[in-house]
C-alpha cells in the first residue's frame, strides 16, 4: 500500500457505470412508456414489425430497467462510496483497478448480448430470467468480478468496521448469486431431444410446481436483493452524507438488516397464492410478507428520523427531497405488498393491474429516485463541478412525483375494478362480464398510465441533461464539498 500523501479516491469505474445507468435508464423507461401506450392503444404494436410487439418488448423493458439501469446504479454507487467508507482508493491496487475495468467491459458486452438476443426473441421464458444460457454464464462471470473487486477493496481497507451500506451490498452480491444459480439451472433443448431441439434454446431443469416455486423464489428475491437491499444501502450512505446527519440509530440499521435477511427469502411464495403449491407454503409466504413490514419500516423510519431537527433542508436542498420521498415511497410499497399478500386480498388482486401498480410505486418512487439522487450527489465529487441546475432538478422532482402518483392511482383503480369484474356473478351464478368488458372499462386508466410514463421519461431526460451538463460545462469546484452538494 502506498503512502497517504496526495492519494485520492479513483472514480474511473464509478464514472463508467454512471454513464451506463443514465443510458439504460433512458432506454428501459422509453420501452416501458411505449408498452404502456400499447396497452392503451394496441395499434402501436405494429410500429416495428415483430420487434415492436408488446410480447417482444416487455422482457426488454424489465431486463433493461432491472439489470441495466438499477444494477448499473448499484455498481456505480459501490465503486464510489465503497472506497470512501473503507477509506481506501482503487488507485492503490492495480489488480482491483484492472478487475473493476474488466467488470465494466464484460458487463457492457453482457448488456449488448441481452438486448440483441431479447430483440431477436431468444428467451428461456422465465420472468426476470429470460436470458439464454450463454448469457447466464457471462452474468456469473460479471457477478464474480464484482465480488472480487468488492472483497479486494475490503481486504485493503483502513477502516476496520464495515459501514452498514456495505453490509447491504454484500447481501445483494450473495443473495443474487445464490438465487440466480438455482433459478437458471437449464438444459439446451438440443441435448434434451436427441438433436431435434436448438442449442440456443433451453428449458428449466425443474418442472411444474417446483419450477414455479424456484422461479418465484428468484422472482421475488430479485425485488429483495436488487430493488430493496442495495437501495437501502444507498440511502444509508447518501442521506447522512448529503444532510450532514449521522444515521438516527445505527443499532436499528443493524437490526433491520438481519430482520430483512431473515424474512425476505421466505416471502416469494406469495406469488403463488391459490395455485398448486402446498397450502402451508402459501400461508408461510403470506405470514412472512406481513412480518416483512417490520424490518422495512424499521429502515424507512430510521431514514426519516435521520432528518430529525433538520427538516428545513427539505426546502433548501432538492436532493434531500428526492431521498425523503424515496423513503416515503419505500414505506408505501412495503405496506402495500404485504396487504396484497393476504390471501383474501390476493384473491382479488392476483393477475390484475394493481400488481404492476404496486411494483411501479416501488421502482419509480423508491428505486429510481434513490439512484438518481445518488448520482446527483456523486457528480460534483467525481467530476469536480457543481450540479448544473437546481431549478431543473426541482422541476424534474415535481414532474416525476406527479408521474408516480398518476401511475399507481390509475393502476389501483384499474386493478380493483378488474378483480371485482372478473368475480362478479349474477343471481344464478353466471359471470356477469366477459374479458373484453373489463378491457373497455380499463381503457382510460391505461391511457393515464401511458401519460404517467411520458411524464416520468421526460423527467428522466431532464435528469440526464442535468448530469451531462454537470459533467462537461458546469462551474468547476476548487475543493470537494463536505455535505450539501453545490448546485447552480
Amino acid at each position: 500500500m502506498q503512502s497517504n500523501a496526495a492519494l485520492e479516491y479513483d472514480y474511473t469505474v464509478a464514472k463508467l457505470f454512471t454513464y451506463t445507468t443514465i443510458l439504460f435508464g433512458f432506454v428501459g423507461m422509453l420501452i416501458g412508456t411505449l408498452i404502456a401506450s400499447q396497452l392503451a392503444f394496441p395499434e402501436l404494436n405494429y410500429l416495428f414489425g415483430e420487434y415492436g410487439t408488446f410480447s417482444r418488448l416487455r422482457p426488454l423493458h424489465t431486463n433493461i430497467v432491472i439489470f441495466g439501469f438499477t444494477i448499473s446504479g448499484v455498481f456505480a454507487t459501490f465503486y464510489y462510496f465503497g472506497q470512501r467508507v473503507l477509506k481506501v482508493s482503487m488507485a492503490e491496487s492495480k489488480f482491483v483497478m484492472f478487475i473493476g475495468k474488466l467488470h465494466f467491459a464484460l458487463y457492457v458486452l453482457l448488456a449488448v448480448g441481452m438486448v440483441i438476443s431479447l430483440f431477436l426473441g431468444m428467451s428461456s421464458s422465465k420472468e426476470y430470467a429470460q436470458m439464454e444460457w450463454p448469457l447466464d454464464i457471462l452474468t456469473v462471470v460479471v457477478w464474480v468480478l464484482w465480488g472480487v473487486a468488492m472483497f479486494g477493496l475490503i481486504g485493503m481497507r483502513r477502516e476496520k468496521a464495515l459501514y452498514i451500506s456495505l453490509w447491504y451490498y454484500i447481501a445483494c452480491f450473495l443473495g443474487v448469486a445464490m438465487l440466480y444459480l438455482f433459478n437458471n439451472m437449464e438444459i439446451p433443448t438440443y441435448f434434451a431431444t436427441e438433436g431435434l431441439g436448438s442449442i440456443m434454446h433451453s428449458v428449466s431443469m425443474y418442472s411444474g410446481t417446483n419450477d414455479a416455486l424456484v422461479q418465484w423464489w428468484w422472482g421475488h428475491n430479485a425485488v429483495a436483493f436488487v430493488f430493496t437491499v442495495p437501495i437501502v444501502g444507498m440511502i444509508y450512505y447518501f442521506l447522512p452524507k448529503e444532510s450532514g446527519q449521522a444515521i438516527y440509530s445505527y443499532k436499528l440499521s443493524l437490526l433491520s438488516f438481519w430482520g430483512l435477511m431473515f424474512v425476505y427469502l421466505w416471502a416469494g411464495s406469495h406469488h403463488l397464492l391459490w395455485s398448486t403449491v402446498p397450502d402451508w407454503m402459501q400461508t408461510m409466504g403470506s405470514v412472512f410478507s406481513i412480518v416483512l413490514i417490520l424490518p422495512s419500516w424499521g429502515s424507512a423510519i430510521n431514514m426519516l428520523l435521520t432528518m430529525k431537527g433538520e427538516w428545513n433542508q427539505l426546502t433548501d436542498n432538492p436532493l434531500i427531497k428526492f431521498m425523503v420521498l424515496a423513503s416515503t415511497f419505500y414505506m408505501l410499497s412495503t405496506l402495500e405488498g404485504p396487504i396484497q399478500a393476504i390471501k383474501s386480498v390476493n384473491a382479488i388482486a392476483h393477475f390484475t393491474d394493481w400488481i404492476p401498480g404496486h411494483v411501479h410505486d416501488g421502482v419509480l418512487g423508491w428505486v429510481s429516485f434513490m439512484i438518481m439522487a445518488g448520482l446527483f450527489h456523486m457528480a460534483p465529487r467525481m467530476f469536480k463541478r457543481e450540479i448544473y441546475s437546481k431549478k431543473l432538478m426541482e422541476a424534474q422532482f415535481w414532474l416525476q412525483t406527479t408521474a408516480v402518483v398518476l401511475y399507481f392511482t390509475s393502476m389501483w383503480i384499474a386493478g380493483i375494478t378488474q378483480g371485482m369484474m372478473w368475480r362478479a356473478v349474477d343471481e344464478y351464478g353466471n359471470l356477469m362480464y366477459s374479458f373484453i368488458d373489463t378491457v373497455t372499462v380499463l381503457h382510460p386508466y391505461y391511457a393515464i398510465r401511458a401519460l404517467a410514463g411520458v411524464l416520468f421519461l421526460t423527467g428522466f431526460v431532464m435528469f440526464a441533461y442535468n448530469m451531462i451538463k454537470t459533467m462537461i460545462s458546469s462551474r468547476e469546484l476548487t475543493e470537494e464539498p463536505q455535505f450539501k452538494s453545490p448546485m447552480a
Binding site: 462510496f81 477509506k87 476496520k160 450512505y237 444515521i247 438481519w258 402446498p278
Partner: protein
C-alpha cells in the same frame, strides 16, 4: 408422517430458531452498549467523515497490531 409434513414442521422450527436468534441479537446490541463494551452509534460517522485522509473510526492496522500484541 410424509415428507411434506416434515418440511412444514422443519420450516416452523427453523423459523422459531431464527426468531430466537434475532431477539437474542437485539438483547446483545442494547446490553453490550449499556455495559459500555461497545458503542455502535459511532459507526454512523464512517459515512460523514469519509475523506481518504480522515482518521478511521476504528483503524484496521492499529487494531491488528493490538491483536498481535495480545498473542
Amino acid at each position: 408422517m410424509d415428507y411434506r409434513a416434515l418440511q412444514g414442521y422443519g420450516s416452523f422450527f427453523m423459523s422459531l430458531f431464527l426468531v430466537v436468534m434475532l431477539y437474542g441479537y437485539i438483547v446483545y446490541l442494547y446490553r453490550s452498549e449499556k455495559k459500555g463494551e461497545r458503542d455502535f452509534e459511532k459507526y454512523g460517522n464512517i459515512a460523514l467523515d469519509d475523506e481518504i485522509t480522515s482518521t478511521p473510526v476504528e483503524d484496521k492496522s492499529a487494531s491488528e497490531r493490538l491483536e498481535e500484541e495480545d498473542k
